[in-house]
């Protein structure tokens, strides 16, 4: 239970109100509710509808207390709901601890709550962690007077259960109508997919009228339900709370760094719940963070190393053999031009650090990049100049800053899809009456509408001009949030940096993947060494080389991911070390595939079998986040470490395998060993190395380009990934998948009229046919499609974001 945090942690003496609760004086900040003031003196008043992050409602009446003096010398004649009553100076409160009246009132309400509640606790998912069960024990009677032998009361019954959505089930008999779920939907997520129906004892939660179930945050209602009324389709009847072991974790699906709780039993993750971190995600997580974990439990999970056999097939190998084969192959590839390293954006900081060190000391190269997505040299510069080493301690933008900002500008970022916790915080901030959210986007998204945000209609490619135009209305109280997608717009990141520096607005970069920011800090970039040290800076190189005990580090800035792909294709690079990359996510999927085929030697790391591991010469299994300790650095630059939930000796982090290969390479006279073999050792070494305190490489400003002309039926392609799509880490949970939004292409009303309900878009990489939907305020000459919801994704099947596509009605296809 979270205690109300005084904002900024400092409360003026004059803002404190002193009340007496059960004879104990306590001073609490003004406007504190009595129920929370009581917590301060160690008295837990029973409650159901009360939730610290939801507005008070006073519906369940469980928290009644006696107030003999309201602070004005007069008492309340009736018991008061302590969850709706703010403290007043001199107020006297008697809770169930000292007041017969309060105790009887609470016992009475508890008895009433139970008369219509089924006695199915033994088969209820909530049994064992149920606030109703627990508080019935602590604040209720042992026996019912309603359904005893004498009274034989008739309970209200409902058919059990009904599906509110593919992921959430409702058992109406168990519901005590505290309205936590409907209030969450209304106040937090903004998706009113459930609401109250009927009245009296037949009042129930139901599917809202004309509001289809559509929420990325629906799972939170299961967690905050104080009874077993809302249950998870995925977890239903799977285990009992008292059999579960809970391990705190960090969500791996986005860059928010959301605190989660991994509940596991006998070596298997049974469910995930939101953690409680007021500084980050508060008590909410996205459905992806909650439900998407079975990707690591499928049949395609890699559990042992493999090497390419003489007959060309992959065969199981022991770890030492795999190390040896990998080392020999890499040594040869290094001799044949060099080896590139693509880490992917899912790595922990420790693994990223191992990759970064492996590239420099074992492979002797700066050809390393964490970006498994479209990127640009401008972005590389921007990350070094404005992102790396920023963090909460250094005054970087934080979640709290989003709440205090007067304006938050979103560029190349759709938080509801790409950073759920950021979206919830922005919406909270907007609802509290403070922040205006401004989006530079081609249309008003559902997320923006829920924040009543202002749209600055911006076609892909026109962000630099829009940023320059907007800079005038920003000031030091504004925050500029730029997404990773801006890398594809020449000049956009330069314009964002310029707008921030000219207006004084604060700037933060929000990537999509959990590992991106940590990999940047760990040196998985061709221009940066660990700790944000510029490769180009001789002092920085000496710094790192000394720490690592190697004579020197490679001097030439390396190739970025696109250049590595090109060099492999051209035969300039011989080998590739690749971890967790889907070619379809990269700038040019065909080129990436060609590069994989062209590489003379590939060492692949992955949790599961993929097309990349199928092509590799040596494959190492990688532990998913549940099986290893690690650290993510979230978009704020906040360090988010976690410990392994499961102990699986066969499931090792990448750094262990990299360390083994490096040792073998050293044995072959190539480079040095890594010097660490465990996450703890890597952490120690990273801490000793510390951050760079020298000058940053300034951003070389890139000028905006005039966007491609859109003539005739040519349209500029706007696209991003939706929260729930075909992403491989959502595999394995069909219920979650069913809550994804239907893939549609968004077109202007005129285009819809011209081409009908099904359209075909054709770009330089192919055609896709999709149902069309109208976006009323979509910028003329733009079409939007979800990046990875159909086929192999937009990059593989259609074209790159911002390029032109043509549209035609799909003949003979009727939606």
């Amino acid at each position: 239970m979270s205690v109300q945090q005084a904002s900024a942690g400092q409360v003026e003496k004059s803002d404190l109100v002193t009340v007496t609760i059960d004879g104990v004086q306590v001073s609490v900040p003004k406007d504190t509710l009595v129920i929370r003031a009581a917590e301060q003196i160690g008295v837990q008043v029973p409650r159901f509808c009360d939730h610290p992050l939801l507005a008070p409602v006073g519906a369940c009446r469980q928290c009644l207390v006696d107030v003999p003096d309201a602070g004005n010398g007069r008492g309340f004649p009736k018991p008061q709901a302590s969850c709706t009553l703010p403290v007043a100076e001199g107020m006297v409160v008697s809770t169930q601890v000292t007041s017969q009246v309060a105790d009887k009132a609470q016992q009475g309400v508890m008895e009433l709550l139970l008369i219509n509640h089924p006695l199915d606790c033994p088969v209820c998912d909530k049994g064992g962690e149920c606030p109703l069960q627990n508080q019935a024990m602590s604040n209720g009677q042992g026996a019912s007077r309603f359904s005893d032998d004498r009274n034989r009361g008739v309970k209200r019954t409902f058919p059990k259960p009904i599906n509110l959505s593919p992921t959430v089930l409702l058992d109406r008999e168990r519901c005590i109508v505290c309205q936590r779920c409907t209030r969450f939907a209304d106040e937090i997520a903004g998706d009113p997919f459930i609401e109250l129906l009927e009245r009296g004892a037949h009042q129930q939660i139901g599917i809202a009228q004309d509001a289809p179930f559509l929420s990325y945050f629906s799972g939170n209602v299961i967690q905050i339900c104080p009874v077993g009324a809302l249950t998870s389709e995925q977890y239903r009847f799977r285990s009992r709370p008292f059999d579960l072991v809970s391990t705190p974790g960090v969500a791996e699906h986005d860059a928010c760094g959301s605190a989660i709780r991994v509940d596991h039993r006998r070596g298997a993750v049974m469910r995930r719940q939101s953690g409680n971190d007021p500084l980050v995600n508060e008590e909410w997580i996205t459905d992806k963070d909650r439900f998407a974990f079975s990707y690591a439990q499928g049949d395609d999970r890699l559990t042992y190393p493999q090497v390419r056999d003489d007959d060309g097939s992959l065969r199981p190998a022991s770890w030492p053999e795999a190390f040896t084969v990998a080392a020999r192959g890499l040594a040869a590839a290094r001799a044949a031009g060099g080896v590139g390293v693509l880490t992917g954006g899912r790595v922990s900081v420790e693994d990223a650090y191992a990759y970064a060190k492996f590239a420099r000391v074992a492979l002797g190269t700066n050809d390393i990049d964490f970006r498994a997505r479209p990127l640009s040299e401008e972005e590389t510069g921007f990350l070094g100049a404005h992102v790396v080493l920023t963090g909460p301690e250094g005054g970087g933008v934080t979640y709290a800053d989003l709440e205090s900002a007067t304006k938050v500008v979103l560029v190349g970022l759709e938080p509801e899809d790409e950073a759920g916790a950021v979206f919830l915080r922005l919406r909270k901030s907007f609802l509290a009456g403070g922040t205006e959210v401004i989006a530079l986007a081609p249309f008003t998204t559902r997320g923006l509408a829920k924040m009543s945000g202002r749209l600055v209609p911006t076609a892909p490619g026109e962000e630099p001009a829009a940023l320059a135009a907007l800079a005038g209305e920003l000031d030091a109280t504004s925050v500029l949030l730029v997404g990773e997608r801006l890398a594809t717009v020449p000049g956009a990141l330069s314009a964002a940096a310029a707008a921030a520096s000219s207006s004084g607005a604060r700037l933060a970069w929000i990537p999509r993947r959990a590992g991106d920011r940590g990999a940047l800090e760990a040196g998985c970039l061709p221009t940066l060494l660990p700790g944000g040290r510029p490769v180009a800076d001789a002092g920085a190189r000496v710094d790192v080389a000394t720490a690592w005990g190697v004579p020197a580090l490679p001097e030439t800035p390396g190739r970025d991911a696109d250049a590595i792909v090109a060099a492999l294709g051209a035969g300039e690079l011989g080998g590739l070390v690749v971890g967790g990359i889907d070619p379809d996510d990269t700038s040019d999927p065909a080129a990436t595939r060609a590069a994989l085929a062209a590489a003379s030697f590939v060492v692949a790391f992955d949790v599961r079998r993929t097309e990349v591991t199928d092509l590799a010469d040596v494959v190492f299994p990688v532990a998913p986040t549940s099986d290893k300790s690690g650290t993510f650095v979230n978009w704020e630059g906040r360090v988010r470490p976690w410990e392994a939930a499961l102990r699986n000796p066969a499931s090792l982090p990448e750094l262990r395998a990299l360390s083994g290969i490096a040792a073998e390479l050293a044995g072959l006279g190539q480079g040095s060993p890594l010097g660490f073999r465990t996450v703890e050792e890597a952490r120690t070494e990273m801490a000793q190395l510390g951050p760079w305190d020298g000058a940053r490489t300034p951003l070389v400003e890139v000028r905006a380009q005039v966007g491609p002309a859109t003539e005739g039926s040519a349209l500029r392609l706007a696209t991003w990934k939706q929260l729930l799509d075909n992403g491989s880490m959502q595999d394995g949970d069909k219920y979650l998948k069913a809550t994804a939004r239907t893939p549609v292409a968004l077109v202007t009303p005129a285009l819809y009229d011209a081409h009908g309900p099904t359209i075909t878009l054709t770009g330089d990489r192919g055609s896709v046919t999709l149902p069309a939907e109208i976006a009323d305020d979509l910028v003329e000459g733009v079409v939007w499609v979800p990046s990875n919801s159909v086929g192999n994704g937009v990059l593989a099947d259609l074209a790159s974001a911002g390029t032109t596509v043509t549209i035609s009605g799909a003949e003979g296809v009727h939606g």
């Binding site: 369940c60 709706t84 009887k104 008369i115 009274n151 609401e195 009296g200 037949h202």
Partner: protein
């Protein structure tokens, strides 16, 4: 005897087509507008304060004081909302009033809105009474046509629009904050207070919510002066009010009389209890007010007098029951009403009424022991004052008061193994049955 009546609101009820504008105007209707427009809004509030008018919806809060709570420095628009969601069992004053004399309500709305500086007023009428809704709508239409509503009313520069809103059939919407929710198009459930409607009511703007009869009393106060109004009634309960007599009386109906009149006097006006029977029990102000018995015949029917005997004046809905009525049966029927109308928001009312019906049903069927009576009273104690709004409180009133007055009758059910009464004897056609 009839000089005890003070027909003010009921004045036009027996006039030919008295609900129309012309007959109403002929009796001086809408003349108070010019009087009021010549005064400042604050003076109108003062006049209503001085008159001693107290809310006629049951609670009896001083109307003028309620109006003065409206913060006039609040930049948001102010609203007047008339609570015409009359749904209490036994209560039937606002609906006949709107039926017989809708214009006095419309005129009251104009005067009251002027006083609180509202330019928009809403009349929220119970949805089931479509004929009344039509009549009030027609009256508002006539008032617009005659220039009593709209812009620059009577050349005063004051603008007012009136919206007649039909409820959707929920007793809870008579609770003022639930009414506001319903008016805003939401689910009718009471709101958390504070903020009070005077500060953040309809659309989060300062709002006055008054009962129909309160608002309809304003024109006469403006016309005849506060002193005239205050000359009627008792010391703390001034003015006239409609007393609705129903049940076992010879001439049931609405009797408009000064507050403080007694049931004995009203029964004389109504021709007494039906022939051959005696008064057994009665409600002073609807089913939510604890019931009284024949020993309370001379209790002055004002807020203080009824309060002194442990009940409430309420809506002056006097339901009269003679000795043929089984009190357990009557109370169970009321309790079923509360169970049906409980909005479901809070536990004590939602679950409590569910239980009370079952407990009473068992008692009516003669099942149980005297200990069940005490358990029933204990349940009432766990509901009264524990629920979110007064609906739950009201549900317990008939039960606890009936047990207080008629405990023996409850026990008779238990010893008799069922209801000792012949229910048909209490019907209006009792004694007129034709045998084959």
């Amino acid at each position: 005897m009839t000089d005890q009546l003070t027909p003010v609101l009921t004045e036009t009820w027996d006039v030919e087509q008295g609900w129309k504008l012309a007959p109403y105007a002929a009796l001086g209707g809408y003349a108070a507008l010019d009087t009021a427009f010549a005064m400042s809004p604050d003076d109108v509030i003062t006049a209503v304060k001085d008159s001693g008018l107290r809310g006629r919806g049951g609670a009896g809060f001083p109307t003028g004081m309620k109006w003065s709570f409206i913060p006039q420095d609040n930049p948001k628009p102010k609203y007047l909302v008339v609570n015409a969601d009359e749904s209490e069992p036994g209560t039937c004053k606002d609906i006949p009033l709107m039926m017989g004399n809708p214009h006095v309500l419309v005129e009251g709305v104009i005067l009251s809105s002027y006083a609180i500086r509202a330019n928009k007023a809403f009349i929220y009428i119970r949805g089931e009474v479509v004929h009344v809704i039509r009549r009030v709508q027609a009256a508002v239409e006539e008032a617009y046509a005659a220039g009593h509503l709209g812009t620059d009313i009577h050349g005063s520069g004051y603008d007012l629009d009136v919206v007649v809103h039909a409820g959707a059939g929920a007793y809870i919407c008579g609770e003022e904050t639930a009414l506001l929710e319903g008016l805003e198009g939401r689910r009718g459930q009471p709101r958390l207070r504070p903020p009070f409607p005077a500060v953040a009511g309809l659309y989060a703007s300062p709002t006055v919510i008054n009962n129909v009869e309160s608002i309809a009393s304003v024109p006469a106060i403006v016309r005849h002066g506060a002193a005239w109004f205050a000359s009627m009634g008792t010391e703390k309960s001034k003015g006239h009010g409609i007393f609705s007599l129903s049940g076992h009386v010879v001439t049931p109906g609405q009797y408009e009389a000064p507050l403080g009149i007694t049931l004995r006097e009203l029964l004389e006006l109504a021709g007494g209890i039906r022939k051959g029977h005696q008064l057994k029990f009665w409600t002073p102000g609807g089913s939510s007010t604890p019931l009284l018995t024949a020993e309370h015949l001379d209790v002055p029917l004002d807020f203080e007098g009824v309060g002194a005997v442990g009940s409430m004046l309420g809506t002056r809905a006097l339901q009269i029951f003679d000795e043929t009525v089984c009190v357990v049966r009557a109370v169970l029927r009321w309790t079923e009403f509360y169970k049906h109308e409980s909005c479901g928001k809070c536990t004590p009312c939602r679950e409590g009424t569910w239980w009370l019906v079952q407990a009473l049903t068992r008692l009516e069927n003669g099942q149980g022991t005297e200990a069940d009576l005490d358990q029933l009273l204990d349940q009432c104690d766990n509901i009264l004052g524990r629920s979110f709004c007064a609906l739950g409180d009201g549900a317990t009133s008939p039960i606890s008061s009936s047990i207080a007055h008629f405990r023996d009758e409850y026990l008779a059910h238990l010893s008799h193994g069922g209801c000792p009464f012949d229910a048909t004897r209490s019907t209006a056609w009792s004694g007129q049955e034709v045998t084959a």
